[in-house]
Symmetry: C2
Subunit: 353 residues, 2 copies
DNA sequence: TGTGGTACTTGACACGTTTCAATAGGTAGA
DNA sequence: TCTACCTATTGAAACGTGTCAAGTACCACA
C-alpha cells in the first residue's frame, strides 16, 4: 500500500512519510516519468486511458509535486515576499490583505515578515527571500536611503515600495499623499470656524509626520488672506495613546485657549480624547478633535472621531498590480501610484453651535 | 565585470540579471565547486587563504545561494506555513506575531494565507505549502471535522492547530478555554450584584459561541444556591457591531429590565454601547456591559470596556514551540497547550452605587 | 507487402547544490 | 629513499522535475 523507495531501502521509521516522486507514480502507472510529467503539465497530449491511469496513480500514492525541483528546472517560484514594519499595525495588515487578494488569484503564495524598524532584520528577510527566489518583493523600507535594497535592484528582483516614494529609475511605489492629508484635516478645521488650532505631531524623523506638517502649513497659507488663523505645533516623542494623553495638560495650559486639536495619528487623538474626558472638557463643544489614519475603532468612539482615511487595502492591490506588471511585462516602466487621502468627518469635529 | 554564463551565451537582455551559480564563484576563485560549497557550509575545513579567496569571489559576483537546489539535495526548507481565517483580525495578527518572533530566531521564514472561511481556499493554501515543502504548518481549520488536514497527517507534515482543540493522536494544538472565559465574565456580573443578565450570543455553529455559553451556564449553576440569578440568551446572526446595535431594542424591551449585558464578543459589545448611548441609557449606571476578546480599542472607550482577554501572542509563541518540538524531537508527542483567559475589569461593568 | 503518417511514449539530460570517495601534496619518522 | 599519515582539494553522483529528440505501434492507403 504505502509507496516504497527504490534502491537499498533505508531504515524507515513507519511514522515517517517516504516522499513520493514522479518516478514512483510512473512505476505504479506503468509509464515513464516523462509521461507522468506530461499528464501533469500538458494533459492534452497524452491518451485518455493513459492519463486516467496516471491520475489514479497520483491519487493512490498521494504524490505532491516538489516545487524546488520544478523551480530548479526553470519554473517560476510562485512566491512573493512582503516585508512590513509591523504586522500588527492595521494599516499594514490591510495592505497585506489587498496584495494577498490580488496575488492569490494569480497563484502566488506570500511570505511575510515584520522588521520592527530593524535594519538588520530587514536585511535578513530580504536575504532569505532572495535565496528563496521570490518572484518579487513588496517592502516598507526601514532606512531613509535605499542602500539596503541595492541588491534587489542589481539582481533585478521586481520590487515595489509600500507607502514610500521612489524615483522612477529606482523602483515602483505606492504612496498616500500625506501632505494633502494634513492639508485636508487642517482646512476642515479652518472652514468650520476654528482659528486657534493645536497640531499634535510626532517626531519629524518620521516622513509621514514631516509631510503632514507640511500639509498643515499649506492649509494655513491658503487661508491666511481670508482670515487669521493660528496653528501651534506640539511635538511628542511617539505616536501612541499615552503620548496623546500626556499632551492634554499642555494643551489646556495654552493661552489663548485653542478651539481645536489636530493629531498626527488616531492613537494620539484617542489619547487626547481620553485626557480631555478626564478633565471634563466636552468634545466637540469645548474642543474639536481630528485624527489621522481612520483606524477601525475611530468611528465607534463617542463622539466618533473625525479622521483622514488612508486606503490601505487599495494600496496593497495597487502594489500587487505594479509587481505583476514588472514580472510579466518586458517593457515595464517604474512608476508611482499615489493615492488621495480622504477626510472622514464625524462628530468629534462637528461644531454644534 | 558582470558575470557571464558558461556555454553558448543565450541572448541576454542587459537589464536582466544573469544568475550567479556556485560554479561561477568557483571559476572566479580558481577552485572547484566542492570547495566553494565547503566554504559556505563548513568553513573550518578549508585553508585560510582559499577561504578568503572564495569569500571575495562570492562578494564580487553577488552570489546568492539557490534554496531550491539546496533543498533538493536534501536540505531543509526553513519555511513554515501559517493559515488563518482572516489576517485583518487582530487576534490572528497577534498570534502570527507570536509565532513569527519565535520562528524567526530559528531562521524560519513564514508563508501566510487567509482562508476567509473558505474550504476551497484552505485546500489551495495547504496544497501550495505542501508543494513548497514547508517544514510545518500552523493552521486555524475552517471545517469542524479535520478531513481537510488528513493529507498533512498522512504525509507527516508537523501541524499545530490554532485556537482549536484536537485529540492527541491527531495534532498538537493551542487553545483558550472559552468555557472558562464565559464563566469568568458571567460570574463577575453575578458577584457585582447583577441578577438579571442578558447574554448576547452569536450563532452556535461557532464553537467559541457554544463554549462561552456553556461557561455562562456553569456560572449560573455555581451561584444558584447562594442567590437567584436569571440569564436570558439573545441570539444574533453574526458577531458584528451592527448586530450588537440592533440587539439593543430587544434588550430594552425586556421585562423585567436587565441590569447587565454580557456579549460574546467585543464588537457586539461595542454595538450595544453605541445603541445604548443613542437611547440615553447610561453605562454602567443603568446597565453594565461586558465584552469578550479584549480588542485593543476596548480599553480606550469611555466607559472603558470590561472584557475577557485572550493571550493571542502567547498562543502564537506556544504554537511555534510545539511545532519546533515536532520538527526536531524524534519522541515528540502531540499535546494541547491550553491558555486561561483573563477578565479585564474596567469601567463599563463597575457598579458605582 | 511496403510506405508514409499519425498518435503516443520514452529516456536521457539539465537545473544548482551538497556530499563523499579519491587524490594530490606535503611532512615527519624510519 | 621509502612509508605512513595528515591536510586540502577535487570531481562526479544524486536530489526530483520538465523538455525534447528519438522511438514505437498502429493504421490507412497504394
Amino acid at each position: 500500500m504505502s509507496p516504497k523507495r527504490s534502491g537499498p531501502t533505508p531504515k524507515v521509521d513507519p511514522k515517517t512519510w517516504v516522499p513520493v516522486t514522479i518516478r514512483d507514480v510512473a512505476k505504479v502507472a506503468h509509464v515513464s516519468t516523462g509521461t507522468v510529467s506530461n499528464v501533469l503539465n500538458r494533459p492534452d497530449i497524452v491518451a485518455e486511458s493513459t492519463r486516467q491511469r496516471v491520475l489514479d496513480a497520483v491519487e493512490s500514492t498521494g504524490f505532491i509535486r516538489n516545487t524546488q525541483a520544478y523551480q530548479l528546472r526553470g519554473g517560476r517560484s510562485h512566491t512573493v515576499g512582503v516585508v512590513v514594519l509591523d504586522v500588527s499595525n492595521p494599516f499594514f495588515t490591510e495592505m497585506f490583505r489587498g496584495a494577498e487578494s490580488r496575488l492569490q488569484s494569480e497563484g502566488y503564495v506570500l511570505m511575510l515578515g515584520s522588521t520592527d524598524d530593524s535594519i538588520e532584520r530587514e536585511a535578513n528577510f530580504v536575504r532569505a527571500m532572495e535565496e528563496h527566489r521570490v518572484e518579487g518583493v513588496l517592502i516598507t523600507p526601514v532606512a531613509a536611503d535605499l542602500v539596503s535594497l541595492s541588491g534587489l535592484k542589481t539582481r533585478g528582483v521586481p520590487t515595489v515600495l509600500l507607502d514610500r516614494k521612489a524615483t522612477a529609475d529606482e523602483f515602483c511605489s505606492v504612496t498616500v499623499d500625506d501632505v494633502r492629508g494634513g492639508e485636508l484635516a487642517a482646512r476642515h478645521l479652518f472652514e468650520t470656524g476654528h482659528a486657534e488650532v493645536v497640531f499634535v505631531n510626532g517626531p519629524t524623523t518620521i516622513r509621514q509626520c514631516r509631510d503632514r506638517r507640511q500639509g498643515v502649513r499649506k492649509a494655513v497659507r491658503a487661508v491666511a488672506k481670508a482670515k487669521k488663523v493660528e496653528v501651534t505645533e506640539l511635538s511628542v516623542g511617539a505616536l501612541t495613546v499615552r503620548n496623546g494623553e500626556e499632551a492634554v495638560d499642555r494643551i489646556l495650559a495654552m493661552s489663548p485657549r485653542p478651539t481645536a486639536v489636530m493629531c498626527a495619528n488616531d492613537l494620539l487623538a484617542l489619547g487626547v480624547l481620553r485626557g480631555l474626558a478626564a478633565h471634563g472638557v466636552r468634545v466637540p463643544d469645548d474642543l474639536a478633535v481630528v485624527g489621522y489614519d481612520d483606524l477601525i475603532f475611530g468611528s465607534m468612539l463617542s463622539p466618533a472621531l473625525t479622521s483622514v482615511r488612508q486606503p490601505a487595502l487599495e494600496l496593497g492591490v495597487a502594489a500587487a498590480e505594479l509587481l505583476l506588471d514588472e514580472v510579466r511585462n518586458p517593457d515595464h516602466r517604474h512608476r508611482e501610484v499615489r493615492f488621495e487621502p480622504e477626510l472622514m468627518v464625524r462628530a468629534s469635529s462637528f461644531k454644534s453651535s
